[in-house]
Subunit: 405 residues, 2 copies
């Protein structure tokens, strides 16, 4: 069987073919990042972190797009947070020098990846929550003559990873102290797994615990680097974390690091709602983040009244919420001539198809019409695409952004 390999990008979905616009020339479905809201969000979150004298290490697992990492760093980010060793490698290979792995580093193959990155000059941090992992890491990196900077993860009972009590964290710090290869470099947490009634109070309490543990470890002389970190925050409660870390007493000892990821494109669901909470708590912030990620797809079949089958499926867009129809265009039309989709509802998603229930009066709809969909949350839409189209207000493609999932 012969192989006719051509340009790699020529056989992937969502790629510009013969023209430069999502309304003409791009094979749909395609994922779009809107240029102006993206620029707004990049500046907005950096300004927010600056205003709290915190560093920003955006969670890169959201996008895994080096072109976005570059923009985040250019906007002032201190580093990039990642979820796995392979993600760290992908970021480093594309120029990210400071990497915060917000998970325990587990497995010899993953440790070997990190050892290579450190050898190549990466400024690398990872988290630990157990003596067994500390012992493994200690052995592995000591054998290579490398130092590894670790942050103790503080979790919550019933939560995800992390030490459950201050005592566990303190005990773990003492175990780290006797591992020659390991340097305790601070405290890490993730408030996104704190649940229950009155979440605002719970998250403030959790942030206060992070501060308290950090300061206790510092007083005990267990912190082993000159500029240790205290870090937490996703894209929903970052204001509470930033406020808790924004005290003169803490800043003398620790560098606060915020790690929101989804902010960069924001979304049309979970984070839009979370943002309302931030803006309600913080009237000084005024205009918040703007949704910058949409997926464009075409009406594929109009088999019976009130039903459109759109060529958009679970392969193309996140499913934590049903995709939200935003606007409609004629193929070959202009961005300024968007048609209304009021009352449209996605009722079912299959792998490659969306079922859209139409309101009465959608009689002008045609096969081939292009629908822009909003999505929530962004992480599970980015990972459906090897390339996304950065588009301007006219929906012309300005840049094709590669992802590295």
């Amino acid at each position: 069987m012969p192989t006719r390999r051509r340009r790699q990008e020529s056989h992937e979905k969502g790629m510009p073919q013969t023209g430069p616009s999502l309304l003409a020339g791009v094979s749909l479905p395609a994922a779009a990042i809107l240029e102006a809201p993206l620029a707004h969000n990049l500046a907005w979150m950096q300004r927010f972190a600056d205003s709290h004298r915190a560093r920003l290490a955006p969670h890169g697992k959201t996008t895994m797009a080096p072109a976005l990492f570059r923009r985040q760093l250019e906007a002032g980010a201190w580093g990039i947070t990642l979820a796995t060793a392979t993600q760290c490698r992908a970021a480093f290979v594309h120029g990210v020098e400071r990497l915060l792995l917000a998970n325990q580093l587990v497995g010899a193959a993953n440790m070997a990846i990190v050892a290579e990155l450190i050898e190549a000059g990466a400024d690398f941090y990872c988290v630990v929550d157990s003596e067994a992992n500390v012992a493994e890491l200690g052995r592995f990196f000591a054998a290579r003559g490398q130092d590894l900077k670790v942050l103790i993860e503080l979790g919550v009972p019933g939560g995800r990873a992390g030490c459950r009590t201050h005592e566990q964290a303190f005990e773990l710090a003492r175990v780290i102290a006797v591992e020659p290869a390991l340097r305790l470099a601070g405290i890490e947490g993730y408030e996104g797994v704190v649940h229950g009634d009155d979440p605002e109070r719970r998250i403030r309490d959790y942030a206060a615990r992070l501060v308290e543990v950090a300061q206790t470890l510092h007083r005990a002389g267990l912190v082993e680097v000159s500029e240790p970190l205290i870090t937490a925050s996703g894209s929903a409660w970052y204001d509470l974390i930033a406020e808790a870390f924004d005290t003169a007493g803490l800043r003398e000892q620790f560098t606060p690091v915020l790690r929101p990821g989804c902010y960069v494109t924001h979304d049309h669901g979970i984070y839009r709602e979370a943002q309302r909470g931030v803006l309600a708590r913080r009237v000084d912030l005024r205009k918040g983040l703007r949704p910058a990620l949409e997926v464009f797809a075409q009406v594929q079949s109009l088999p019976e009244p009130g039903l459109a089958i759109v060529a958009l499926g679970k392969r193309d867009i996140g499913t934590d919420r049903m995709p939200e129809p935003l606007r409609r265009y004629r193929e070959g039309g202009r961005a300024g001539e968007a048609l209304d989709v009021t009352g449209w509802e996605v009722t079912r998603l299959m792998d490659q198809h969306a079922f859209v229930r139409l309101p009465r009066g959608a009689d002008d709809l045609r096969i081939g019409d292009i629908v822009a969909f909003g999505t929530s949350h962004p992480c599970l839409t980015f990972d459906k695409w090897r390339r996304l189209c950065l588009v301007d207000e006219r929906l012309d493609v300005k840049e094709v952004m590669e992802t590295l999932f």
Copy 2:
């Protein structure tokens, strides 16, 4: 910001690093295809199709793995079915000459892709269900002086795409007949969207309708190719479709084509259950398909009794069902020394983490232990990976299979 681009495969997840086994040397999580069950399934389904004198055009959207397309064709498949124009291009570029697009071809950019494939020698079929689409296709391909083979899609009321009635199908055939560039090449359906009580009866009825419409069109002289197709079937009800198409009278006029996709790796959920239905209806088939797709991941944190956090998330495995823990291994151990996971249950999946509830007595569990997970259905696990590991019984990696989503 400098770019340190190395080999493309060096910064993607799930890739062999320093060793050849899923238990040592491969960065986990990683997706595995088991060699022996894969070979069994490839042969099994081809034998099934042969026994019904049907052609097999496996749905390639399941895996989008050219290495699997090649094995399917080598096992005797007639062609590969695909869901989008870009998928067709990916398959053709990797040597698949006969392509069945089981959807309407919509959008000028997608039509342009298909025009290129036909120009390059592809034997291409797509489906139509509307006069508007027929008119578009007719214009587009006539302008290029190309012929396009189309199959009329017959759907069901309340279903997905496809003509709802025989009359619509007949009318559409007459419209196709007057388009110089289009050739009516048969009838297409998908029984997977037939729902309701007594599904077996409904699917038999639907298959009978497909046969009836095909024969009516043939009698009317509206079929315009010498070897027209009649095609349907996913991986759940293929036996009923094959039986309905397996009549001497039909075969004189039409080539039956079956299009299951998930059979190739089968699964640990939806299709395992569907397979029980097939085997109950068809006692002659005896041993059925075998699950051949697993995802291997490591225990990342053991933060409190009864809870393991595993480094496996929505980015790594399909979520139509919760992943099913199958076996456990020590890192660096041997495949023959699998440990028990009875009573383990995945209770929650986040993007990069699984929460596993452990039974009492799982005290020997260690951070770094490797867990093999089953999944359902396979399409939404394949699309999480750019490369999968084909492994033998020892879990040694025999081949790395690329995907082209």
